[in-house]
Symmetry: C2
Subunit: 212 residues, 2 copies
Amino acid sequence: MTADPETRLRADARRNRDQILAAARTIFAAQGAEVPMEEIARAAGVGVGTLYRRFPDRDALIRAVAVDNFDRVLRDAKAARDQEASDWEALIRLLHQSMELQLSIQLAMVSPRALAILKSDPAIKALRDELLLVMDAFVRGAQAEGRLRTDVATGDVAILFATLLRQMPGKGEEVARMATRRCIGIMIDGLRAVGTNEPLPGRALTGADLDP
Amino acid sequence: MTADPETRLRADARRNRDQILAAARTIFAAQGAEVPMEEIARAAGVGVGTLYRRFPDRDALIRAVAVDNFDRVLRDAKAARDQEASDWEALIRLLHQSMELQLSIQLAMVSPRALAILKSDPAIKALRDELLLVMDAFVRGAQAEGRLRTDVATGDVAILFATLLRQMPGKGEEVARMATRRCIGIMIDGLRAVGTNEPLPGRALTGADLDP
DNA sequence: ACGTATGCGGATGGTTTCATTCCGCTTATG
DNA sequence: CATAAGCGGAATGAAACCATCCGCATACGT
């Protein structure tokens, strides 16, 4: 209903807005949603004023990043489903396209503040739920294929992934990036269904366990 | 040289000091070394005044926690080496005795502030180096046994472990604890040497990669 | 090419969050 | 019981941070 508020932006303003969102995506993914606004502005190459003119406060920014990102991930997920031969491969591909998914998880289930915001906005909450559903389908599918170990559930994968990817502070860009990619590899090998797996303690964690 | 400054403490003071250290261990391990001092005091069941009387500032507290903790871990590691049948099993046991080791890693390589402090104190730096050496021995040993995948090094294990264990904020104690234990299990399975492993990208990360 | 509405950066003010200190009261100890 | 040792937490000051405002710059319609 709100017309399209973005079309009427001046070209440079539009560009800045996109840069801000991109910067926020990167930073939120790496450090969580509570970083100083100024840091985001700097990363985007704009002044704080510009940031605040476009997004009246942090919550607005988080909301915008969330829609933007959930959209991307859902698109990626559907592409993966369509193009990959199996649910397992689709899941792996999704995990390797990590930054976007990492951010989704970060927002959807790690940062308490982000979570509160998302839940208070029905449209975003719907996206979040859809994402959980899609991941759930991959997980169950891959298990049915006999490739993903059966003693895990979507919550396990999400938690594992989200925790792994919080970037370690104060390491070289170089090492950090490599460490992340290697950790994902190890994690994936740990998720495979193979005879040598030890049974995991407790019960499988579902999407519902991520909520409160 | 400093006599023994602890023997001359009044009984209750001594008890409080221990509680503070215990609380700091738990909290540092879960949230890193930058939590408000007051939170530590509260967790220890004492006033901030008491905390500051015993440890003049945060650095002193971090130092104290570090010695205390490196000592424990080194003891545990030696016990593991003596009592377990193989290096692989010793490594696993160490990883499962997680809280202590997690804190060591957190202090020794994750928190930049802690790292700076540790390095400026020769005695603690020595402990840290010794710990890295011991882990290194386990890693190489387990690889020689053919049980640990050969495309990882100590740095990988440390990073994997440290990142995994940063507790997720705002989840029930119950779920958080279970998630941690399950993640460790998955990670260990990912570290096993089995035919299904995909080769990891980049190069193996060593202890040296953790420094800067 | 020009006038103007739109947008920009970053200094600034007010607020919150922390670290650290201080002091009147409590308690272990001999 | 006297007293030195210890305790809690309010008070203080500094730092970090959010959000606003305004003089200057730039895109865009004509």
